[in-house]
Structure formats: C-alpha cells, structure tokens
Amino acid sequence: MKRPVAVVGVGQTRHASRRADVSIAELVREAVDRALLDAGLEHRDIDAVVVGKAPDQLEGVMQPEQFLAGALGAHLKPLIRVHTAGSVGASTAITGVTHVASGLFERVLAVAFEKQSEGNAMWALSPKMPFTAPLVAGAGGFFAPYCRAYIARTGAPPHIGPTIAANARANAARNDYAHLREPMTVEDVTNSPVLWDPIRYLETCPSSDGACALVLASEETARKGPRRPAWVKSAASYAEAMWVPGRDQVNPLAGRVCAKHVYERAGIRDPWREIQTAEIYVPFSWFEAMWLENLGFCDVGQGWRVVDRGEQRFGAHLPINPSGGVLCTNPIGASGMLRLGEAALQVMGRAGDHQVDGVKNALGHAYGGGAQYFAMWVVSTER
C-alpha cells in the first residue's frame, strides 16, 4: 500500500430478522453513530464516504445511496457506492482503504447495510435477465451442488456440516450483536429439514436486518485516536468470470489468488501458524471446510478434518468466526463488512466475550456472486 491505513472505529447495529422499529436510514445511522463514537470522531471529521449493499431489488429502493447521503453524513463530501453482491461489505471497506492509502483522504467512513425483511432475497438474487432461466433457486439452491461436490471429492463424513453449524451458534452466544444466539446441538441440526441437499435448515444463514460501519484512517490520525487501532497490513479483491471452462467453484481460483496476495503483502508465509483467528464468509455450513482449504489454512481435501478435530473452535488453534459469522447474522450487504470489522475488533482486543486470546494477525474474508467475487484483508496489532 502507498501508505499505512488503520481501522480506528467499528460500529454495528443490533441484528434481527425484522428491525421494524427503524427505517433504512435510521438503521444505517445506528451503525454510523457507533463507529464514529468508537473512533472519537464526528461527521465533520470524515473526508469521504463509501457505501455498499446488495442489489437494489432486495429492498426495492432504487439507488439508496442517494436518499441516504444525509444519513451517511456525506453532505458536500465525495460519496460512492460499491457493488459486488455478497462480498460487497468487504469490497466497500477495501475501497475505503484505497481512499486512505492513496493519500487523498485522511479519514473515510465505510458503511454497509441490508434490511432483508423489506423484501425477499431469494427473489431478488435470482437472475431476471433475458434468456437466463428464472429458477428462483436462491443462494442455497445455487451453492448446495458445490457442497455436494466437495463431499464427493474429499469423502467428508455427513456430520461435518452440522458440526460447523452448531459451533457457529455456540460462538454467536458470546456475541451480543448476533442475530441467532440460541444454542443448538449437532443432533438438532441433523434433525432439521433438508432445504437443498446436503444443506439443512439449521445449516443455512438467516435473513437479517442490520448495518456495519468502519472508520478508516491514516497513520497520523490513528496515532492520535483514543484506542489501539487495527493496522490494515494488506487488502485485496479479485473477481472471477462466470463461464470460464474448467472453472472450479469448490475451490475457486480467484479466492486462492486473493488469499496469496494478502498473505504475501502482510509478510505471512504460513497462515495456519501466523494468523490467530479468521472471520470468513460461511453462509452455508460446508463452506467453512471449503474455505479453510481455499484460504490455504490447510491442504486441499483437509478442511473437513480441521473441523473434525475441532481446531477451528473457540479456544482452539485457529478460531473461525468467533462472532458466530454469517450462519448466525446475515444482513447480506453488511455481512462482508462485519467479517472485516470483527477481524479488526480481534486485533484491537475489543471483541468482548468472543475475544480470542493473543491475536496478532486476523483475516477478514468475504465472497459473493456465483463464488465469483473475493475480498479480504489481514489486520494486525503492528503496523
């Protein structure tokens, strides 16, 4: 990066299946106010604003960035919207990073949100383009075959998916902001109905209303802040074309390239040993095992074994999604930013009851589209 960038403020809303108590603007302001308070800054201190959310069809509000300009505190400032499907929250944060890294801005507010209760994600995310079959499969219908392919390739036993889902819920119980926090056993998950084979109801992310905001700042600002910042060691996003022959959605090339990029720039040679916790985008249980491999935490075919040995649990070698992750909280547009923000909180030492001990480096990760967009950052206690 051209110059150091730090996360100096993290804010998120209380997440729920329906936040009928607030409008979209009020939901966004709840996260923005908390991020600014966290950073010890006010609206007037912010130089530029970046906002992201999933496609407009989710809430049926066209160009929400326009009517939200005031709620975002963007009056008389540069405001842009970022759009990369499910990874958008992470891409939005990374766009904020490049704003600061460029040297053009000192303090940038990055905001992402979704109010899923106002529409229907399955409908909104199904293509309605000419000459494309309108299957209304939703994300679950789209991704389940890749989970099945992963099982076929690796011979992973059936309890791995339910194990991941139950562990996520155990983690969310330690996170005050999480949407689904009621404990559940592997047996509970196994007994829940299959929605899209092999994915069961309790192995599926919820629909949530929520927002997240981050304040990204230059080194000078970060040094003056009230709290220890999270230094952004590296950040990158990569897209993958949809119809490339030989494309592998089980272990996507763009994900591997993006991970390699952020590790190299962060000086990390062995992520399994040098990263202490990771917040990764797991909307359906099996993706945790798949991404452990895609992100280079283990060899190909070994992700499910990491889960089976419990090495990704809270308190174990590499806690994955100590916040509970997307399986417990999923305001789609904000989900990626929550991953990056939670990773930042871990290195700031302010993750509360789900704080992992001794975190020096943390990975934040999101993916979106047809496993097409990847966005990641490595944050650290050290510049």
Binding site: E26, H43, H75
Partner: protein
Amino acid sequence: MAEIPPLHQEVVLEFPYKHSTGPVIGRFLAGLKEQKKIWGQRVRGQGVVVPPLGYSELDGSAGDEWVEVQPTGTVTAVAVVHEPIEGLHPFTTPFAFVLVRLDGADTALAHVVKDDVARLRVGTRVEAVWAPDDQRQGTIRDIACFRIVAT
C-alpha cells in the same frame, strides 16, 4: 448455420415490498392519514424539514421539536406534463409536477397540481387537497394533490 432473426424477450419485474417507516416518517405519514395535518421537524442548522428525516443532513445531529406546518404554500418549481402516460402518471389529463414550500417549512415538498396548470408559475400560492377520509392510507398521496389558492 441458417440465418435466423434474433428474438426479443419481455421481462416483467414485480414484487410487493414492505418498508418499515420508522418513528419519524411513520409519524409524518400517520399525521396525514389520521389528522389531516402536515408535520415537520426542526433540525439544527436547517430550519423546519418537511417531510422530516429525524436528523440533520449537515452534521448528523438528531432532529429536534415537531412543528405543524400549514397546508398552504408557495410553488418554488413547476413542470407541466401536457401528455400524461396512462398507468404511469398520477392523472390522465394535463397536470404539473411542483415543488411546494409549505408555510412554516424551510424545505420544498415534491407533489402534483391537477387543475388549472396553465396558470402555475414559480411563486403561485397553492393549498393541499386531502384525499377522502376512507381513502387515506398513510402515504404522501393522502394529499391527493395541490390546487391554486383562489385570489
């Protein structure tokens, strides 16, 4: 391959959304429906904002006291639609899009004037025409339209 003409495909997008209005816009809309009153909110540095937002767009501070504004006001901008499109526009006969600064407000409200549009000018005085009691639903069209104030 034999020459074949390309096809067209019609796509209709339709979905019923349910928006949470929240306490601020919600109260404004309830005022239209239940009270036939137009409520604004005093906001630091901006005067009285109608419809209210609940916050200052200048500095993000929270909205202040609620203020009832008048159903009368002054046109600040006008665009006449001479040939309305049926099924798309609110009226089938010529009408006007207007911005109206209501008496007591410091912002202009976007709305429509149904009749007498040839006489509309910037500065014309207009008043709200309410939808009948059994037709008000808590939307901005509970004000059916504006009309020119008789002088």
